[in-house]
Point group: C2
Chain length 281, copies 2
Amino acid sequence: MKITIIGVGLIGGSMALKLKSAGLVSYVFGVDQNENHLTEAKNLGIIDEISSLENAVSQSELVIIAIPVDAARKILPSVLDLINDNQTVMDVGSTKHGIVETVRNHPMRKRFVAFHPMWGTENSGPKSAISASFSGKAAVICNREESDEDALKIVEKITKNLDMHLIYMNAEDHDIHTAYISHISHITSYALANTVLEKEREEETIFQLASTGFSSTVRLAKSHPEMWVPIFKQNKENVLDVLNEHISQLRKFKSALEKENYDLLEDLIRNANKIRGILDK
Amino acid sequence: MKITIIGVGLIGGSMALKLKSAGLVSYVFGVDQNENHLTEAKNLGIIDEISSLENAVSQSELVIIAIPVDAARKILPSVLDLINDNQTVMDVGSTKHGIVETVRNHPMRKRFVAFHPMWGTENSGPKSAISASFSGKAAVICNREESDEDALKIVEKITKNLDMHLIYMNAEDHDIHTAYISHISHITSYALANTVLEKEREEETIFQLASTGFSSTVRLAKSHPEMWVPIFKQNKENVLDVLNEHISQLRKFKSALEKENYDLLEDLIRNANKIRGILDK
């Protein structure tokens, strides 16, 4: 299968590497605004050819849009304008309601599959791409009834070759769940980094003392605003809802400490411990 | 060297394994209130002998106290009562001001070294002990001037054999830094787990969708209250100080989203990104 990757960064690059090594994809056209990324991706064997959008799409069975969610919403209609009924387009964005709304009335809507692989790291760019990355993780297809059966089949095959398990969901539910499971983690991590940077002026001490616990909690704070501002923007209502709940949960810890109510503190911690039973299933 | 480990859990057990494999320690007496832990530790080769406190201490050059910080404060004076000038006692607790105050006027104070290895996981018990755990991490000795030179030498040798690098600090500074670097991470992680458990009633969805980002941010929420309530209690003022700052940082994200001020949101994220430069030094 010949494919086009629009956006040869962490996600697009990792998908290309994995799908090539799995033998499903024989040739990858790379399209990106960032010429350095294109050259890097070519040198790393992620893509086979640097191409214009029109040329790439015209020769591809499948087009994967792997750019920030605001840019993906902008480019998707133009990509659908370029394809025929034998071609399929998928995205990989972390918000889904906005993008399915954008093309709801597009004549080629049925050739688009709204997709979200639940994997990422705090890094970006083709150099961060890892072939084994998606293995064992979940991937979501949203609003499957709005896509053609054969387009869904292709994306299901892609999922299988990424070694991911597939979940079907409507776009609104997806965006609520990702606010809980992914987006809020980034905000707490950013806020934690800003807290430490604000309070702890001795950078050398942070570096020396930073324990494994701190590093893992604050890891996501390294994630770039180019990717995350558009996600928060598109999922604003859900993210605010969860953020308000999170602040109110933190206030319970604050109140337990202020009132020296250590039984309440223990109850709060025991409740949080339940996450072990859920995550370690 | 023959040593006693009081508390054969994650930290005590990991230290015993590492120090034995490094060849520094030849024999380990295990003391613990939890008889199952003692049996497990014996079966796992972490300790050589299950013993009473008195018997163990009488035959040990070094006593390592590796129990929750409130229990450590209680037991330390009795251990110092049992030793002579050729024996050394160290703790491994995550708060240091309380414990050094407890023994400030003890006649054997100089045989005690206040120690904190900056490593841990969300797990507990001897089964979680890992020999390689401490490698490359920082360890802190507090108030070195209150300990005898030869007692310090022994703990420095222990640190070297754990493959850790040593930092000296006074106990008050240590407790301020650990509030920033370790204790607040646990509170945010607990609060995040409680947020998700409160908002996301569909446990199956959490399990299926939980991405690597979520798992790493919420990992610390699995940590037990038996260890953490005493830490928050002993470091209450510093933890509250950092927690207030953290809530105010989260409010900035909330405000930026509510006002749709995406330039501010980007600034907040760019500032948080600076943690990369510090952590990846």
